[in-house]
Symmetry: C3
Subunit: 141 residues, 3 copies
């Protein structure tokens, strides 16, 4: 099996509700997302998908929703509204706590199928680095 | 399947008994260990295991036993005793040659199960970099 | 299963025939190749294969054929001949477009089996970075 992987980085704030220590505080990371695709066969130029296409589609979504933004649980709306009022940004809310695990699942299961619906590829794996030393990996079913 | 991976680095000396060339000399590396875990389900905060917990448990073990130490085969005790006499350190002996392969196996099979016995996770894979260009990967049975 | 992986980097020019945008232009990358091996059992020193042996065998092949060279499709001979005439180098031609996918397949399926024929290892996976953010992965059948 051949897969192609594109790395995309973004800076975002988050906090983990009910965390036992300092992750409950609002803080930020430079996230690095590695997203992997397969295709039934290589295209006529010899690619799974053009690396530029992944940046164009998923990179645009990340720029619009996650980069230089704050990712919060929907249960954290009180804080979110205060931030929105102060800065004018539009918080990115998730149904669950914005752990690396949940962000990765959200992107693999909800975002990528929508974004790449018209492409002849399947997003088969996500690796999300919260820091250079801390990452989660998720493969599609 | 979702896994979380923590990278931990340490500096250690070793040598490979009977090596054909310069690895038989006592030398050192900055090792980087990437250890991966799965859980039956994410915890109530949305994690496999807190990244900080891995550092706390495995990082402490590495600090005590491997970092700024020398890793030798049990068959290399003569050299080990000379070093211990000179520096006062306590050599970390292994049953086999301290190749990256054997160190990775040792950590995956012997150390992690003991260290993480009380956590609801399984250590499923180890990647050990001996140098930035040389690594070994081992998955649990 | 235990695998050992060696990373080898090389600088090469290429272009993708019929590419929709700027990859049709002759340009270059610093490629990074990560090649992974397994063995039926570790050797008597405790290794899959000596990291130095991989560099010696595959590194020598890369140095001779790919590094500081140009990789072109066999259908791109007109350009290739012009380059050869100007610089005296010997273009590395491939049967297909020199995408990362095709270069990785070529190395995994054609080159490694030949180069490592006398070693007790199997080359089981290739990861080829075209840039630090763009890579392809291929596993052996």
């Amino acid at each position: 099996m051949i897969t192609c992987t594109r790395r995309l980085e973004f800076d975002a704030a988050h906090r983990i509700l009910k965390h036992e220590s300092k992750c409950k505080m609002l803080h930020g990371h430079r996230y690095a997302l590695e997203v992997s695709f397969t295709a039934k066969k290589l295209d006529n130029l010899g690619r799974v998908i053009d690396f530029g296409k992944v940046r164009e589609l998923l990179g645009a979504w990340i720029d619009e929703h996650l980069d230089h933004n704050t990712i919060l649980s929907i249960d954290d709306k009180k804080l979110g509204k205060q931030i929105e009022k102060s800065t004018g940004q539009k918080i990115y809310y998730m149904d669950e706590n914005p752990t690396a695990e949940n962000i990765a699942k959200h992107i693999l299961e909800k975002i990528c199928p929508k974004i790449f619906a018209k492409e002849d590829v399947k997003c088969v794996a996500i690796k999300l680095y919260e820091t250079p030393n801390c990452s989660v990996s998720l493969t599609a079913n």
